[in-house]
Structure formats: structure tokens, C-alpha cells
């Protein structure tokens, strides 16, 4: 597999603000890649540099080997970008918008593909409607459609599901996953971490313009205590001191962080020997949100850098 997007030491300053501070990433062809980070981390700025909307102060970006500055026409043909801002051209209907967008990419008679996109995004009944008359979520879907008119090998989605209802979010992911299976590289930013966890094979986390974590989803999840054992005891016998030291109390339940399943049995035995009676017990898996919070608080700052060849 070749490299779909290569970002090398990209820097961008807005006045005094260092929006991107030496970002390097390599995204392979066919990946479903997640770009996460808090508000203002620089995700949109990075995507804008990739799309040629923002000119980086330093660094190089290539899309499938084409430099986004020197060879901008070729690079832009390979990219389909869904912008974060909800924008639309109020003069046109949905179909006109998509036909015009096709023309901008040098494509005529694109109606078959346009119809397919519209069907997949559940917009067929709105095809002849003026953009002004669409709801916010529908406008967002048209933005997605506009990014796909030229079947770009690399699809970049900057928070595509903000304001889109549950059913359509499912439909959208279904469609994007299909495109990904067919070989399109997908780069996604979102604040819905379950969404990222379900979809992305690899994740980069950005904080104040720097990459603070970069690894596969499974490695990232593995870096944090794999599971949490949560136990509720009957009031008869309190948890012994030794075990209390290992646990945290949340809403009257005791939570034990586990590195592996083999730690469960000794814990249960200790409780049984102390005479504790278990009222309820749950085993929960660490999720991306735990990882995200941990990374952003500075724990696991270098997550991934040791065992991932593509970092830096």
C-alpha cells in the first residue's frame, strides 16, 4: 500500500498563535484515519493546509505523491473535503449545486453518480429543492455529497455528523465505510469518540498544534488499563483496607482498574475471605474516551511513539 497523505513538519502561525507546531503524519492508502483533539487543537487548520485553503509557513504536504502547493491541481483532484462550516450557495438547487461542483472538477454528465450519492445520503426527494429550503442536517449532507462528486481517492470529513440525526448518521457511515472498502482513504475528525472508535483503524490526537498520540486504535486502547471491574457490596461487611487502597469509590461502587483478566480471581477471593457479599458486579472495557482524557491530561503523552513506526 502506498502513502495517501504525507504531512511533514507542517507549521502554521496566525499572528501570535502557533496553530500547527511541527505536525508530521503519514496516512496509508485505504486507511480509515481519525484526527481527534479538543476545540482549537488545529484539526481544521491541518485539513485546510492539506486542501490548499491555508498556506503553511513551513513543511510539506503531499497527496498520493502530489505536492499540494507545487502541484496543486493534481493534488486537489485527488481530494474530497467536507468543510466543518455549514456553507451553501443560496442561488441553486441541490442537483444544480452538485452538477456545478462536478464541472469544477472537470466532469460533465455526472448524473448517474450524482443520483447514487443522493440516494445514499437520502437526498433524492430533495434533489430539485433550493439549498435555502433545506434543514441544517440536509445542508450538511449536501456538503458531503459535494465532496464526493469526483470520486476522490482521499476523502476528508471535518465533523460531518454535527447536527445530523441518528438514522442518517448511520446511513452516512454505512456509505463512507463502503467507499473505504472500495479503496478510498478516509480522514475523519469528530468529537463523537464512540464514532471514531467504531470506525477508525488509526488515530492521531492533536493538542495545541502538536501530535500528542498516534497509533492504531487497538494499541491506543491497550495502553490504558484494559478493563474496569465495578463491584457493589451489600451493607453487611465493608471492603477491607487492603482492597480499598486499590480501588476508587464511585457512586457507592468500588472500581478496580485491571491490567488483565487474571487479576479478577485474586480480587474476588480476597473479598470472599473478608466475608464481603457482592450485590452487583460489572466488567467494563476502557474506551477511547478514557484514552482521550488520559492523553489530553498528559498521561501517556508519548502514546504510540515507541511501538508505531509511522509516528514522526
Amino acid at each position: 500500500m502506498g502513502v495517501a497523505v504525507s504531512i511533514e513538519q507542517v507549521e502554521k502561525r496566525f499572528g501570535r498563535l502557533q496553530a500547527l507546531d511541527g505536525v508530521s503524519l503519514q496516512i496509508a492508502e485505504g486507511e480509515f484515519f481519525g484526527l481527534l483533539g479538543p476545540n482549537g487543537a488545529g484539526k481544521t487548520t491541518l485539513i485546510s493546509c492539506l486542501a490548499g485553503l491555508v498556506r503553511p509557513d513551513a513543511g510539506k504536504i503531499r497527496v498520493l505523491g502530489r505536492d499540494v502547493v507545487a502541484d496543486y491541481r493534481a493534488a486537489r483532484r485527488l481530494l474530497g473535503v467536507v468543510p466543518q462550516e455549514l456553507v451553501f450557495d443560496p442561488f441553486f438547487s441541490v442537483r444544480e449545486t452538485l452538477r456545478i461542483q462536478s464541472g469544477y472538477f472537470g466532469i460533465r454528465n455526472n448524473d448517474d453518480w450524482i443520483d447514487e450519492i443522493l440516494a445514499n445520503l437520502d437526498l433524492t426527494s430533495k434533489a430539485e429543492t433550493n439549498m435555502r429550503r433545506l434543514s441544517g442536517g440536509m445542508k450538511r449532507r449536501v456538503l458531503v455529497a459535494q465532496a464526493l462528486v469526483h470520486k476522490p481517492p482521499v476523502i476528508v470529513l471535518d465533523e460531518p455528523t454535527a447536527g445530523v440525526d441518528v438514522e442518517l448518521r448511520q446511513g452516512l457511515w454505512h456509505f463512507v465505510q463502503r467507499l473505504n472498502r472500495e479503496g478510498h482513504t478516509v480522514i475523519l475528525t469528530t468529537h463523537y469518540l464512540e464514532e471514531a472508535e467504531a470506525l477508525c483503524g488509526r488515530i492521531a490526537m492533536l493538542k495545541q498544534g502538536q501530535v500528542v498520540a498516534l497509533d492504531t486504535m487497538s494499541n491506543l486502547l491497550a495502553q490504558f488499563p484494559g478493563h474496569t471491574l465495578s463491584v457493589a457490596l451489600t451493607a453487611d461487611v465493608a471492603l477491607p483496607e487492603v482492597l480499598r487502597a486499590q480501588a476508587t469509590e464511585v457512586d457507592g461502587r468500588w472500581q478496580f482498574r485491571l491490567a488483565g483478566f487474571e487479576e479478577i480471581e485474586p480480587l474476588l477471593r480476597a473479598m470472599r475471605e473478608a466475608g464481603c457479599v457482592i450485590d452487583d458486579m460489572r466488567l467494563a472495557q476502557a474506551d477511547l474516551e478514557d484514552v482521550f482524557v488520559g492523553v489530553m491530561q498528559g498521561k501517556g503523552q508519548r502514546a504510540g511513539n515507541e511501538n508505531s513506526g509511522v509516528a514522526q
Binding site: P90, I100, Y104
Partner: protein, 250 residues
């Protein structure tokens, strides 16, 4: 090529869909100017041997043409910048030369449509001659091109509608109104004649009028030279701005 044609088509559709505002309204204002001025000024008045109403018509046509060419490219750009829909033309592989041509040609088309409308409507009120149509055409095209390109500069530079309105009210309006639309500059005091010679719009109108009546304040060849030079300078400046990404790509 398809990229350019699509952008041009979109720009034309943009003003055509609101044609009442963008084409019919300026034709009506020009007609009002003609009715008022030719009524106020006695029908006996002649300028360079041409009856005043007839003299006025080419001036009004050119004034409407250039003002609308400017309005088209400038308002299209600032609107799409303010609404953010400018990304739709910044993301695709459209070269800056295609970008320039599409906006300028669309502006020229709107200018020519308005100009033709004014000519047709006002033509009923005075006998017109078309002594040298090639001059009429070349000055119409260049005039629309210059102001179309100039409108791009204004639209790219302005961040708000009122900045653009300032541009229009304090630069474009005076330049066009004080360019000999309503009078021959020979009727002005010497000092103001000199000042008028610094205004490129004066040459556009003077050369344009020559095409109708065969008389002008300066030789049409000189006007053509000035106007063509202006076109190249403004176009080069616009292309340089687009190439640098000024205020479009941060």
C-alpha cells in the same frame, strides 16, 4: 476548460436568476437619467454638433455597462467570502487564470446585457447613428473587462459590504459620473479638462461615443491606447493578487 466553463456558467446564472435586480433595474435608471436630462436641457443644445439627447445615450450606455461589470464581480466575490461558499471554488483544481477569466467574462456579459438594454430602451428617444461599430464594440468589451477585473480586486480586498459600498460610492461613481457622460469635457474650465484626462473612464466613453457619431474630444486611437493599457495593468494586478492567494487563501 470544463472547469472554466462551469465557473463562468455559475457566475452568469448567479446574476441571471436575479435579473430583475441586476439587469432590468439599471436599464430603468439609465432611462430616467435620459428623460430628466434631455427634458431639462433644451432640445436645441448640441454637443460637438450632435443633439444633446443623442449625445447622452452612448455615455449612459457606457456608464451603466462599466458600473454593472464592477458590481457583478465585486458583489459575487464578497458574498461568497462572507457566506463562506467561496470554498466551493477554492477547493477544486481551478487555476487562477481560469478563475480570473470566468469572473471577468461574466462581469463583461452582465455589463454588455445592461448596456444593450439601455441602448435599446433609450434609442426610442433620439436619432442614433452607428458610424464606426468596431469602435463601439472594442470600447464596450475593454470597458467591461477593466471594471470587471477591478471589481475582483475590490471584492477580494473588502471584508465587509460597507467597505465595498465605499469603493463604489467614492471611486467608481465619481470616476464614471465625471467622465463626460453628461457633457463634453471641452465645456469645462482648463483645469478640470486636465483632471478629466487622468480618468480612464473618460477615454472609454469618448472612444465609445466616437463609434456612434464619428466625433470625439480626443482621437479614438489615443483613447484605445489608454484603455488597452489600463486593461493590461488592472488584469496583471488582479492576476498577481489571485496568484498570491491574498485574502482568499490564508
Amino acid at each position: 476548460m470544463i472547469e472554466f466553463r462551469t465557473l463562468l456558467y455559475k457566475e452568469v446564472l448567479r446574476f441571471w436568476k436575479v435579473g430583475f435586480q441586476t439587469v432590468a433595474a439599471p436599464v430603468l435608471s439609465a432611462l430616467l437619467y435620459l428623460l430628466i436630462f434631455s427634458h431639462v436641457l433644451d432640445a436645441q443644445v448640441k454637443v460637438n454638433g450632435v443633439p444633446y439627447a443623442a449625445f447622452l445615450i452612448p455615455g449612459l450606455v457606457m456608464m451603466s455597462l462599466v458600473q454593472n461589470a464592477f458590481a457583478n464581480s465585486s458583489s459575487s466575490l464578497i458574498q461568497s467570502k462572507i457566506t463562506g461558499s467561496v470554498v466551493f471554488v477554492l477547493l477544486p483544481p481551478i487555476s487562477y487564470v481560469e478563475f480570473f477569466l470566468a469572473y471577468v467574462v461574466a462581469a463583461m456579459l452582465r455589463g454588455l446585457m445592461v448596456g444593450l438594454g439601455v441602448l435599446v430602451v433609450t434609442g426610442f428617444f433620439a436619432p442614433l447613428t452607428f458610424i464606426a461599430p468596431q469602435w463601439i464594440l472594442i470600447f464596450a468589451l475593454l470597458g467591461g473587462g477593466i471594471l470587471g477585473a477591478f471589481g475582483m480586486i475590490a471584492g477580494i480586498w473588502a471584508d465587509k459590504f460597507d467597505q465595498l459600498a465605499g469603493f463604489q460610492n467614492f471611486l467608481i461613481m465619481p470616476l464614471t459620473m465625471l467622465s463626460g457622460v453628461f457633457y463634453s469635457i471641452h465645456s469645462l474650465p482648463a483645469f478640470w479638462q486636465q483632471v478629466s484626462h487622468l480618468n480612464p473612464v473618460f477615454y472609454m466613453i469618448d472612444g465609445f461615443r466616437f463609434g456612434f457619431f464619428g466625433v470625439s474630444d480626443v482621437a479614438p486611437e489615443i483613447s484605445l491606447m489608454v484603455v488597452a493599457m489600463s486593461f493590461f495593468v488592472v488584469s496583471a494586478a488582479t492576476l498577481a493578487l489571485l496568484r498570491s492567494g491574498y485574502k482568499l487563501r490564508y
